[in-house]
Symmetry: C2
Subunit: 141 residues, 2 copies
């Protein structure tokens, strides 16, 4: 049975806000037993994202490159730690109106390019139990 559009298929990744990227990369390389698989500057967001594979999911370290980035504001307000939870969906464009109908507050009204070959869209923590949720779908070649 095909699940309805919008249904989460897996945890795609967990995003962590970090202050000292080099230290966090070294620590996760040790914990997760392998070097990062992706390191990407995300210019429009003013961040750098470093991704580690862990089983079928990923851990994403997020460091700020600008004092006005969302990650910089998060670090100022909450400190280092868990930043967002990213769910994999089959069709992100179809998922967004479904999530909105379910009561979610969309931050991105259309999918945009994220780090690590993903289409992504964020859901506001208000209406999702205080969790910044990211929906994502792998980008085809």
């Amino acid at each position: 049975m095909t699940p309805p559009p919008g249904t989460v298929l897996a945890i795609d990744h967990v995003g962590l806000a970090v202050r000292d990227l080099d230290e966090a990369v070294a620590r996760h390389t040790r914990w997760l037993g392998a070097a990062p698989v992706v390191r990407e500057e995300v210019e429009p967001d003013g961040i750098v994202a470093v991704l580690f594979a862990v089983g079928s999911a990923r851990v994403e370290l997020l460091a700020s490159r600008r004092p006005d980035s969302a990650v910089a504001r998060f670090l100022e307000r909450r400190g280092e730690g868990l930043h967002h939870l990213a769910y994999r969906v089959a069709d992100i464009a179809a998922a967004l109106p479904v999530w909105e109908a379910w009561g979610a507050t969309l931050i991105d009204r259309a999918p945009r390019r994220g780090a690590g070959d993903r289409w992504v869209a964020f859901i506001h923590p208000k209406g999702s139990g205080g969790v910044l949720v990211e929906l994502c779908q792998e980008r085809g070649p």
Copy 2:
């Protein structure tokens, strides 16, 4: 090649602190396309844990049953949201001294029984980038 003891194999689950458990269960049942797989009172911790399967991982909702529980204190301090990140290891008893040697601050010095048929041990956020990390291993039958 066998990874060294302590190496994380997968994201086992992500723990979310919630105020209104019924609302959060309804919302996650819709998002994740299926009812919870486990609902367990964890008496010593003064909490109830509700687990959903999502791909090869789980989402764990944590609600407080006592005003002095760790989850109650978390909700008071930080509000609802992402609470901890649980990593699966092959042998938790072997992993703990390795993590300590790596600089982690152990909250549990020995594995204890967690919700959903797991041996668990928590690592202090101090020394793990502000993230409350849980190591866990499936309990055999």
